[in-house]
Amino acid sequence: MGKHVVAAAADLPQGSRKRIEAEGRVIAVFNVRGEYFAINDRCPHEGGSLCTGRLSALTVSKVPGSYEWTREDEFIRCPWHGWEFDLRTGRSVCDPKTMRVRLYDVHVEHGEELVAEKTLVAETFPVRVEDDYVVIEI
């Protein structure tokens, strides 16, 4: 249990993603239009790496032949079999009740706070007090 620095915020700009290992887990972190999402990297279907998947929208339809493009880039599509997962809930689109990926809390913290807290598990790069960092909590 603890906080882990994923990256300096400047190094995870909008539209980018990063796969990190922490406490024996592999976690995929996404920056979608300035909003961060962190999920288990391993697809619960067959184990594909979700971090290497394609971000996509959800097309919804009320009647056959109608297509409504919603929530652009808020779903990650597994590169292996195309299963989609909602980055906000972790639930799959095809089987939302039983098939889901774990979500992690992810946010930005200022370097100064991080240094002051001293709760950080050892990271592989130095935290500078004047910068912002993307942090996940496990």
Binding site: S56, T59, S61, V63, P64, G65, Y67, H81, G82, C94
Partner: protein
């Protein structure tokens, strides 16, 4: 296996088996002449159209007509003797398979189909209140299908509309939606029966030579129709529409559902209106008749397939009279679990064909 009607807990006619696939035999085009208007009567006689036979169901093959049934005669009395007498059904649904779908001239096809429906009504339905029938649809012409449903759909003797597994186009296509809309309104299931208009080859490979291939390949047509109805969204648009696959075989279905569901999970984005697994949709909207089952004879061999379909409401009793599906009078195949007999013979048909319940009430009133 004893007949369900011999079971003391089952009381005719309200609690008798419902035979969901009985085939009346059209003696030939001459039988339909009285139901055609003069123009088409002249076309039939001038062209010398004696019958509308195809490679399907070769009329003199013992497989098409059981010898003992042929000997009894394939008329109303012969059918009554087998279906209601020896096999103990209380009601039966007539699905008339005659080559009207093969006719390329749409006007002629429509005229022949109307005549066929009128012949079924006059020669069968009006002569036995235990009989119901399917309205044969002239699929050469969608507006004509609507007219035929306007003409006959309010007649409670008709409990279903009938098309063949292999027609002009897949049935999920939108040009057919007005027909499905009307069926839903009329509370008539769509029966899809083995057979072909032969306007397309029965296999996707092209034309084959032999009857055995033609008959075995029917399941491909059923599979393609089922996938098409689901993916085109017919059951999203018309959620109350029931489709009954008749003489389709049964045991191919679980594997096909698996395949469809598996690919839906990965590529469902192109059909976003299909918002739940295809198997769930099929369980809600589709039914199958039990002849043929395509399963080995040992006891309970079908249980696994039923478990995989995950529904005991799915199968409907059918003798497939007069086709050769079984010898003697054991109408329920030995591989169907006993515990499902009542559901398959009575409850499931009744739930599927709502109009039959009204007819049962009338029959009880007569008694």
């Amino acid at each position: 296996m004893p007949l369900a009607s011999e079971d003391k807990s089952i009381d005719c006619p309200i609690d008798c088996p419902i035979d969901c696939d009985v085939h009346p035999t059209v003696p030939g085009m001459m039988a339909l002449l009285p139901y055609l208007d003069p123009h088409w009567q002249e076309q039939v006689t001038d062209r010398g159209i004696l019958s509308l036979d195809s490679i399907a169901y070769p009329p003199n093959l013992d497989f098409t007509v059981r010898r003992d049934l042929r000997a009894k005669g394939l008329d109303l009395a012969g059918m009554q003797d087998a279906v209601f007498g020896r096999w103990g059904a209380g009601q039966a649904i007539l699905n008339c398979i005659y080559g009207v779908q093969m006719v390329h001239n749409a006007d002629m096809g429509v005229a022949f189909t109307r005549a066929l429906n009128d012949w079924i009504k006059a020669q069968w339905l009006d002569r036995d209140p235990r009989l119901a029938a399917s309205i044969v649809l002239p699929m050469q012409d969608t507006p004509a299908c609507l007219e035929e449903l306007d003409r006959l759909g309010s007649n409670r003797q008709f409990v279903q509309a009938l098309v063949l597994a292999n027609g002009e186009e897949p049935y999920g296509k939108r040009q057919y939606w007005p027909i499905w809309e009307k069926l839903e309104k009329l509370n008539l299931p769509l029966g899809i029966h083995a057979g072909s208009s032969y306007h397309n080859p029965v296999t996707t490979l092209g034309w084959t030579n032999y009857y055995i291939e033609d008959y075995a390949a029917q399941t491909f047509g059923f599979q393609a129709q089922l996938a098409n109805l689901v993916t085109e969204g017919v059951f999203v648009k018309y959620p109350q529409l029931k489709v009954v696959l008749i003489e389709s075989g049964v045991t191919w279905l679980p594997g096909f559902i698996w395949r469809l569901a598996k690919f839906w999970r990965g590529v469902r984005r192109e059909v976003p209106w299909v918002d739940r697994p295809p198997g769930d949709i099929i369980r809600d909207n589709v039914r199958m008749t039990i002849q043929p089952l395509d399963a080995p004879d040992e006891a309970n061999a079908l249980q696994k397939a039923i478990d995989q379909i995950q529904s005991e409401d799915f199968l409907l009793y059918a003798s497939d009279y007069p086709h050769l599906r079984f010898e003697g009078d054991d109408v329920m195949p030995p591989n169907i679990p006993d515990s499902l007999h009542r559901k398959i013979m009575i409850d499931n048909p009744r739930a599927t064909y709502k109009r039959l319940a009204d007819m049962q009430t009338d029959l009880v009133g007569v008694r």
